[in-house]
């Protein structure tokens, strides 16, 4: 009798151990590709019945604040975090992230080198890219034709200004150019910093001295302000990605320079009134060897404090795999596959046919170099940002100065000299250059 009871107890223990689920908490942003990942995650749990997923979806800035607090204090609230290419090098260096290692079937070498290099610190991969993006020119072919111009595949800033002017018809509510004007390190600063790289400007010299008093920055900001005054929409200082997307989709913009992911939105016939008339080109340059495009990726990483890093890595391996791309293609169509992470996607004819902006996206991503982002040497990593903890603060403060210049409240020169002062002050307080 005793033996029977013992056996039953052991059986019950074994079965409870077999079915004990490990719950991993995933923090993510509310972007279309992430929502699709959440929708399709049932496929992952079906294959891994011992893992349960809990999702925390938040607005980007709130998510950043939350995961930063959690990872810095080793709170352990999250097992998988959605973070950007700005955080990965800083957090990796601090030891806040667990190193990722995948089996051979993951095919690490298939990751786009420019993206992979931004996620690697001291030869260790700290995050896997979920989707990558650069920026490009999107334009209205019909308006371009009406203006008697042809958009080259690799336009210059001078051509963009000429074309924007020719396409503008303010009385009809059509504006030649739509660019980000909303202040923020991820808003107007992303665009203007990328633009400044092609003008030869840089945030800091090799000794971390701010460079806003340079000729190159003066040319960049004056060009931006003049271009927007001539051919931009009214109230542009409040426009970010979504506002410009709405303007472009409703036929109010001739040219829009922004994230490559917008390609899928502007060519979607359900939402865009101009879907049939959209052309794409590389971000403009100024003949100095650098184009004005950025490089960004939303990535999945495991905080060092996670107690469930094995299950978390398993999930990341699935969500960033070729198998996942195929799953999205079968359920949602090839155009909805997360772009910009794997070379194999761009060798797939079905994807190329479904996404007319695919080749430009790949070319843009590959042309961005986070280690040598501009013409002159720099001591930092990052194309449209500087990967130092102070950048969120100074980026937004400088963004406010540039936004003020766009509204005409201050001149471009005043905005630059204020930016120089405030960045100098912050860097001095933070004791740069660090030994």
């Amino acid at each position: 009798m005793m033996k029977k009871i013992l056996m039953l107890a052991c059986g019950a223990l074994l079965s409870s151990a077999t079915f004990a689920k490990e719950t991993i908490t995933i923090a993510t942003v509310n972007n279309g590709d992430m929502i699709t990942m959440k929708e399709l995650s049932g496929e992952f749990t079906a294959k891994n019945p011992d893992i349960e997923l809990k999702w925390v979806t938040l607005e980007e800035n709130i998510l950043r604040q939350r995961v930063t607090t959690d990872v810095a204090t080793k709170g352990g609230q999250y097992d998988v975090m959605t973070i950007g290419t700005y955080e990965v090098p800083i957090w990796g260096k601090q030891g806040w992230l667990a190193e990722l290692s995948f089996d051979d079937s993951y095919d690490l070498d298939d990751l786009i080198p420019a993206i992979r290099s931004g996620l690697t610190v001291d030869e260790k991969l700290f995050a896997a890219p979920f989707y990558g993006e650069s920026s490009m020119v999107m334009y209205r072919k019909d308006l371009m034709k009406k203006a008697g111009l042809d958009m080259p595949k690799e336009p210059t800033w001078a051509f963009i200004r000429e074309a924007a002017k020719a396409m503008t018809d303010k009385e009809a509510g059509v504006y030649g150019i739509c660019l980000r004007g909303k202040a923020g390190w991820g808003e107007n600063i992303a665009l203007i910093t990328s633009m400044s790289n092609s003008f030869g400007a840089r945030w800091f010299d090799e000794n971390w001295k701010p460079q806003f008093d340079s000729k190159e920055w003066n040319e960049t900001l004056n060009y931006y302000v003049d271009l927007m005054e001539e051919s931009g929409p009214p109230g542009a200082s409040a426009n970010g990605f979504n506002e410009n997307l709405a303007l472009f989709q409703t036929g109010k913009c001739g040219i829009w320079i922004d994230a490559t992911v917008a390609g899928a939105f502007v060519t979607n016939k359900d939402d865009s009134e101009v879907a049939d008339q959209v052309g794409f080109a590389l971000a403009p340059d100024n003949g100095l060897g650098k184009r004005g495009n950025w490089l960004w990726a939303w990535t999945l990483a495991v905080p060092a404090s996670s107690q469930k890093s094995e299950a978390a890595t398993k999930f990341i391996s699935w969500a960033t795999s070729k198998e996942y791309s195929n799953l999205v293609a079968s359920k949602k169509g090839w155009a909805k596959v997360p772009p910009g992470t794997r070379m194999s996607l761009y060798a797939n004819d079905e994807y190329i046919n479904a996404a007319p902006f695919a080749q430009i996206t790949l070319d843009s991503i590959q042309s961005a170099d986070p280690v040598n982002p501009t013409v002159k040497p720099v001591p930092y990593v990052g194309v449209q940002f500087v990967a130092i903890p102070e950048f969120q603060g100074i980026g937004t403060a400088v963004g406010q100065q540039f936004s003020a210049a766009l509204t005409g409240r201050v001149s471009a020169e005043q905005a630059l000299s204020s930016s120089q002062r405030l960045v100098q002050r912050t860097m001095r307080k933070a004791r740069y250059p660090k030994k």
């Binding site: 942003v29 938040l58 980007e60 979504n242 409703t250």
Partner: protein, 276 residues
């Protein structure tokens, strides 16, 4: 003549009151209207107030994508729980300050209020570490504790103000009749100060319901209230205003209804002792 001018001023005041009321209510009305629009209409440069294609699609999508009722329940537990726990501490505290003051009572009250002047982010890391060490992260208990502590100064202040209006003689009379401190508070003070206590409770339920710093930072998947539910519908790349408006409407409607039904009590309590 006097009747005429009184009528005129009545009309002016009524008009002013409606205008101010309309201005205050307009953002909520706009949110409600946007929640019934398509995403393209929601961000349109020439928006329409009523003449658009009404759709329930946003509500359908929000309900299918998020566990609304879990967030709703969490909000109920956190806001009502913290207000009740807060009252349990604030009533005796306010009683002692109002009826048995010392020479430092005023300073103590001012110090309590001064804690509200500190930006919450200033104590973020210590509180986060405490929560981590006591296993309170992402728990409703943790959020009830933090909400109670945040709103306690306001609760004590409000109750202190109401209690000060009650003549000490009434309490003295009960003491002469042999009432203990407990009897004095429960059977004499509370019935007299009920409107004040009710409005303190309601105001704190509203404050806790709307709190969106600590509730967002200290919760994740299990204890997240409606503030986290709203925050999940904002997106940097992609149109979201209509769905965000639907989520906001679903989050504010319960507290609006509560405010509507209890407005008499709330106004009575807030104006208690205002005219003297």
């Amino acid at each position: 003549m006097a009747v005429n001018s009184s009528n005129k001023s009545k009309i002016i005041y009524t008009f002013l009151a409606w205008t101010i009321g309309g201005l205050i209510f307009f953002p909520i009305l706009w949110t409600l209207l946007t929640s019934f629009k398509t995403e393209a209409e929601a961000i349109s440069a020439s928006p329409s107030l009523f003449m658009f294609d009404w759709t329930l699609e946003n509500y359908k999508e929000v309900l299918s994508r998020s566990p609304y009722f879990t967030h709703f329940w969490n909000s109920i537990v956190i806001s009502i729980g913290s207000s009740l726990v807060g009252l349990l501490i604030a009533i005796p505290a306010a009683w002692s300050m109002a009826f048995v003051p010392t020479k430092r009572t005023k300073n103590l009250l001012m110090w309590m209020l001064s804690t509200k002047m500190l930006p919450p982010v200033g104590v973020l890391i210590p509180i986060y570490l405490l929560f981590r060490d006591f296993d309170l992260l992402d728990t409703k208990t943790g959020l009830v504790i933090v909400m109670t502590l945040i709103n306690l100064p306001i609760m004590v202040w409000m109750l202190y103000t109401y209690f000060k209006e009650i003549p000490n003689e009434v309490l003295e009379a009960s003491r002469m009749d042999g009432a203990t401190i407990g009897d004095e508070i429960f059977y004499v003070l509370l019935p007299i100060a009920l409107p004040g206590i009710a409005s303190t409770l309601l105001l704190n339920v509203i404050l806790s319901w709307n709190e969106a710093f600590w509730t967002l930072i200290l919760s994740a998947a299990n204890a997240a209230p409606l503030t986290a539910f709203i925050a999940s519908y904002s997106s940097p790349e992609g149109l979201f205003y209509a769905k965000l408006s639907a989520a906001s409407a679903m989050a504010v409607v319960p507290i609006l209804i509560l405010g509507w039904f209890s407005q008499k009590q709330l106004v009575r309590g807030l104006s208690f002792g205002a005219v003297k």
